[in-house]
């Protein structure tokens, strides 16, 4: 009976720890004159990192502000393109961070942020962990950390590439529309110039008789 209860407990631990969210990474669109806030409940003493990057829109800048549960501003930057801020939670409670595009009149911005709270959950929920890690295991841990930073760099590279690519695609469509537009304007202007010039030299007498009848 106790054996099956133990198995059930192990499974429940597994379910709990796998569902434990300790890092949120989101990309969202911030319309002009808008402000978007996110909140998270953090326990005192946890080391947290907030990283954000503007992907598309205008001059690729956004205002960011991070506040602790009592409203004290821990981090405030205006018109920043990319930044990373690490802090240790001094108080228990709800921390709030906001992105603001209120200085912009018509450009929508796409913002990416990554909010890491604490460390990753242990891989193997082993309640009897008393021995130190073996050499192989600590090598695995360091490779895991290195690969995590590789994935992080890849993400930032992907965002910068997305920035460049969206600019290039905008340029491509703009060149097409402007060229067609200019060709049409050119034709219209040259034909109307000729018509206008002709109208200066046309006979006034013939025009009035035509209008009269």
């Amino acid at each position: 009976m106790y054996g099956s209860v133990r198995v059930l407990m192990k499974v429940l631990w597994a379910q709990l720890l796998c569902g434990w969210v300790l890092g949120s990474e989101l990309t969202f669109e911030l319309p002009d004159n808008a402000k978007q806030c996110f909140y998270e409940d953090i326990i005192m003493g946890t080391k947290c990192t907030l990283e954000f990057q503007v992907v598309t829109g205008g001059h690729y800048d956004v205002d960011c502000r991070l506040e602790d549960p009592e409203g004290t501003t821990l981090y405030k930057e205006m018109k920043k393109q990319y930044d990373s801020f690490t802090f240790t939670a001094a108080k228990n409670g709800t921390y709030k961070f906001c992105f603001s595009n209120e200085f912009s009149t018509f450009t929508h911005k796409t913002v990416y942020f990554d909010f890491q709270v604490g460390d990753d959950p242990p891989l193997f929920p082993n309640e009897n962990r008393v021995t130190a890690l073996t050499q192989m295991e600590s090598a695995c841990v360091s490779i895991h950390e290195a690969l995590k930073s590789v994935i992080d760099y890849q993400t930032h590279f992907r965002l910068r590439e997305a920035q460049g690519r969206s600019r290039a695609e905008d340029l491509n469509t703009r060149v097409a529309f402007w060229s067609i537009g200019e060709a049409i304007i050119l034709l219209v202007v040259s034909i109307s110039q000729v018509v206008l010039l002709r109208s200066f030299f046309s006979d006034k007498k013939t025009t009035t008789t035509r209008v009269g009848s």
């Binding site: 106790y2 407990m9 192990k10 631990w13 597994a14 709990l16 720890l17 796998c18 434990w20 969210v21 949120s24 990474e25 989101l26 990309t27 969202f28 669109e29 978007q36 806030c37 996110f38 909140y39 998270e40 409940d41 326990i43 796409t110 909010f115 891989l123 193997f124 929920p125 082993n126 309640e127 073996t134 192989m136 695995c140 841990v141 490779i143 895991h144 690969l147 994935i151 890849q154 590279f157 992907r158 590439e161 997305a162 690519r165 290039a168 340029l171 491509n172 060149v175 097409a176 060229s179 200019e182 060709a183 050119l186 034709l187 040259s190 034909i191 000729v194 010039l197 002709r198 030299f201």
Partner: protein, 219 residues
């Protein structure tokens, strides 16, 4: 004794787990969209939990029946791949078949409009992509792996994700290069075309006006 201590710890962690998610506020008819740029054959799992503002108690209720969220997911070609109504707590999952920007949109679809008298809905959201969707303790239990084998499996999954991302990067760079080449071609041809139009209309103008003035016996 150990069992009861374990059970107590489990319950405490369950309570903490409830509290430890990122959340934001959403208005009544507001639609919130999130973008996920992912390579193909990548699994995405999203979990959300909603809480309604209760004016009487001045706080957010733990859960409200009858409150629903509509989840809509679009692939890079703006084709809808998932459009479903979930309850106040929901879990959605999809696997990408085309690489690119997928859009995940959420909006509340409450039948009882009176509930929104307070105007605020708190949404806890968690979106996990790629290798973060793997449940390692479950994999260890299923395949009976030792700790070292599990760690190596995790490293293999991470490396696979890096490879997929790099493959996707190659595809994106190709698209970028094609766009730049196309812009280059367009600038070249349109400049030539516009110069030709300019010259042709100039010549036509002169010829037309000359014949016009000759007919008017002014030249």
């Amino acid at each position: 004794m150990m069992l009861s201590v374990s059970a107590a710890l489990l319950l405490t962690l369950a309570w903490v787990h409830q509290a430890q998610t990122l959340y934001f506020h959403i208005g009544e008819t507001e639609k919130k969209c999130f973008i996920e740029e992912i390579p193909d054959e990548t699994m995405v799992i999203g979990k959300y939990r909603t809480q309604l503002w209760d004016k009487q108690s001045g706080s957010f209720l733990p859960s409200t029946p009858g409150l629903g969220m509509h989840v809509e997911i679009k692939d890079p070609d703006t084709k809808i791949i998932l459009s479903r109504q979930y309850g106040s707590d929901g879990r959605f999952t999809f696997t990408s078949h085309t690489p690119g920007e997928h859009q995940i949109c959420l909006h509340s679809n409450s039948t009882k409009m009176a509930l929104f008298a307070g105007g605020k809905l708190r949404v806890h959201l968690d979106i996990q992509v790629g290798e973060h969707t793997n449940n390692y303790p479950e994999i260890a239990a299923k395949d009976k792996l030792t700790e070292l084998q599990l760690r190596v499996r995790q490293l293999l999954d991470q490396v696979e994700q890096i490879q997929k991302e790099q493959n996707y990067q190659r595809y994106r760079e190709e698209r970028f290069r094609m766009t730049s080449e196309s812009t280059n071609q367009r600038v070249l041809w349109w400049s030539i075309a516009q110069t030709l139009i300019l010259i042709v209309t100039g010549i036509w103008q002169m010829k037309h006006l000359k014949s016009f003035f000759e007919a008017k016996k002014l030249v």
